[in-house]
Point group: C2
Chain length 460, copies 2
């Protein structure tokens, strides 16, 4: 078989990364400064102590650390081996359909047991908790993608897992709940009677459908109550992005295997920023080392939640209840209520501080798309490539398509690489709505954005 027909670029388990790459170590070299996390009341820099109430010490160290390479424990690599290294595909049929001279590659993270990139971090988070004496993990989940990943990881290290699932999702989307329970987790509709935060909301409104903000409050409250219970977050924070760098490390090896040369553009979707960061950070490392030019790096987000493209780069709270430390990040305001789009994983009001700072420094770009063109791109992709993208990942599909069409106009043989961070097997109701013509394209009006941004606190 000639290399010309090859579709998948695989790595053996022997090539599984041995370290995570820590961007904190290279921020200086990139001319980027990360603003300190602040105490929400005093507005003074918050130390490690603020995090240690809810996270175990090794993860807090990773959050604040500047060591360039963090060793992946053998017990974590051993679980990674259940699905990693993941394949890199060349999208030959899609290129042909688009009539583009560009080469399109995509990394596929949907082969994990839970169907997305999320276990890349849930597994080490569960491991370091288990090592630190934690016996129970808590978290929140909306549609269930992160809750599934944590349930699976907790089971691998014999931890209890308590997931607070937004009540309306709990009632309307039972399949992700069943999946979490099959991995041994306890799934509680939120708000619940188990926490003060939940009881307060229920006292006020017994029929509430819940919200991700309330579910976070419940999970954090449970973790703060008891030394052996900790909380786990699926995106935004530095240590989460750190764990995801296994993705990009594999991509650089696979592009070399494909003889693809240096990519011209990297494309990913952004909600909290973790799959995108994990995908492109290793390219920054190579650039800092002088081994490669900096490619264009494009984040794609929904026009309905335009955090990077319309939000402000300011200090804000991570949650609606203003309980978390304040972080400098692109934000739409902590009480932003996103429209009901079908990309549940991209509806967060804020963005990872690292990604925000890289955008501010001009190292990455950001763009956005309404959901109908995104689903149109996905349908075209499915008919060429077979794999069904999650709507979140569909934003990267749309972005890669854009780049391929631009390359066609320019008549240039560019190399485009994107991250297909998860499959859409649990999102077929969204595809159904799209096919039935029932979806709306939400572009947030400027005045609504202004109104929401007005709630961002003023920090000197």
């Amino acid at each position: 078989m000639s290399n010309d027909q090859q579709t998948k670029y695989l790595l053996s388990e022997a090539e599984l990364p041995t370290h995570w790459y820590n961007l904190n170590a290279d921020l200086g070299a990139l001319g980027v400064e990360l603003a300190p996390v602040l105490n929400p009341e005093t507005h003074e820099p918050a130390g490690a102590g603020a995090l240690e109430a809810i996270f175990p010490e090794p993860l807090v160290q990773q959050e604040m650390g500047t060591e360039r390479h963090v060793a992946i424990p053998e017990a974590v690599r051993d679980v990674y081996r259940l699905w990693r290294p993941t394949p890199l595909y060349r999208a030959r049929r899609w290129e042909e359909k688009l009539g583009t001279p560009a080469k399109i590659f995509y990394k596929y993270e949907g082969v994990s047991p839970t169907g997305s990139h999320k276990p890349n971090t849930s597994v080490p988070q569960a491991y370091f908790n288990a090592e630190s004496g934690t016996t129970r993990l808590t978290t929140e989940t909306g549609a269930g993608q992160w809750g599934s990943a944590l349930s699976f990881a907790a089971q691998m290290y014999d931890l209890d897992c308590e997931v607070y699932m937004v009540r309306i999702s709990y009632e309307q989307k039972p399949y992700r709940r069943v999946m979490m329970e099959t991995w041994g987790a306890t799934v509680t509709p939120s708000p619940s009677e188990k926490t003060q935060a939940g009881r307060d909301v229920l006292a006020d409104d017994p029929d509430t459908s819940g919200s991700l903000g309330i579910a976070i409050s419940e999970a954090v409250e449970r973790a703060a109550q008891d030394e052996a219970t900790k909380y786990a977050l699926g995106s935004v924070l530095n240590h989460v992005l750190l764990h995801q760098t296994v993705i990009g490390q594999e991509v650089t090896k696979q592009l070399a295997q494909a003889g693809a040369g240096e990519p011209d553009v990297l494309v990913g979707c952004t909600g909290g920023g973790s799959n995108f960061a994990g995908f492109f950070y290793p390219f920054l490392e190579r650039h800092v080392d002088g081994d490669a030019p900096l490619p264009r790096i494009v984040a794609v987000e929904p026009t309905a939640t335009p955090t990077l493209t319309k939000g402000h780069f300011e200090y804000d709270f991570g949650d609606t209840a203003r309980m978390t430390p304040m972080m400098k990040m692109h934000t739409l305001g902590h009480d932003f209520v996103p429209p009901p789009i079908h990309s549940g994983g991209l509806r967060y009001h804020g963005m990872s501080p690292q990604i925000s700072a890289l955008l501010d420094a001009g190292i990455i770009e950001a763009t956005s798309t309404p959901q109908i063109p995104m689903f149109e791109s996905c349908e075209e992709f499915v008919r060429c490539e077979g794999l069904l993208p999650a709507p979140e990942a569909g934003h990267a599909v749309w972005g890669a398509r854009n780049e391929a069409l631009t390359a066609r106009e320019a008549g240039e043989e560019r190399t485009i690489v994107f991250n297909l961070c998860g499959h859409g097997h649990f999102d077929l109701s969204a595809y159904e709505g799209f096919r039935a013509g029932e979806l709306e394209d939400f572009a947030l009006p400027e005045d609504e954005i202004e109104e929401s941004l007005a709630a961002v606190p003023d920090v000197a």
Copy 2:
């Protein structure tokens, strides 16, 4: 990394099989005779002509042919590359949980775009149809697994695809329908007004929920009407089993890569028999060539549809309406109505004639399990290995577990290999029912089997 930790055994695309293995060529060497297919009215051997009305000539040749190796066209291998070769896993965590000295390996076919082994045959079926001038394929589907596979394959070769979906599934299980439509297929609830068979049923009972038997009749009727429209079947027939032999060819290479030696036992689930056949036929080839001893080969079926364990080995019709040629096979009788178990793919009244003959000759064994122990095995497996089996594949999980426990009792380090033919992402309502204690274990009473078998025609 030492070989001791390795979890997945991968093959490169260069190792993708180049030929399918045709068991017909080795039946004599195995001392097995395949009875001819009979005309349903005259009871005389039916020639190729009986099949050519609904299948294209190359597939009819494969059905009847005795050439030992059939070349896989490059255009088919090119689509196979979207997911093949598939991984072979060593179930290390599950072995430990079971405390067995046995080594358990499983082949995972769930990485295909549609999530099962079915595209292994839908792709070549679509290809040979396209090559023969067919412009439209028809088929029936119940839960949607086969319909999805044919929709995907038809799209790959620019064929129209018309799927008749049992009406109750069409209404209650919209996700598989949406998946088929996303690949460009037309999905029609059956019975429909499009065929005489459908109109007859509707005239009689406008509110019928449909049946697989009626859907088959509609799909076959459409194919017989028009030269450019052909029908495609997802199991049972020789050419379907032939296409599936890519599975086992890869397994033999992967076991060698793992240094596993010769397997002691091969386990698979059986509905029509195709995933199981594709998995173990290449081991028969090696045995005939004198390269390897014959391992134990164990088929696992539901006690609710005990075709191999309780059915008779006789001539019977393939369909309820007695329209198909008659085949000598293990059957429960062509008007057998299976209990409502959650393994839709294993509810067929008959069995592949090849598999039936191999059982009759004592070359393979068969066993059965009720669905509750099957789901218990799956839950244990998921908690160890991460991957969620389809209930059909769960029968193989149960069978492998049985073998592992037997090896533990014997204190023997046996090598057990099973085929995990698909994931259960669209079967979580079944897992939900299991977890809620709502499932029943159906073991078919002997008198019901006798009654159903009474309908098997008497052929001299």
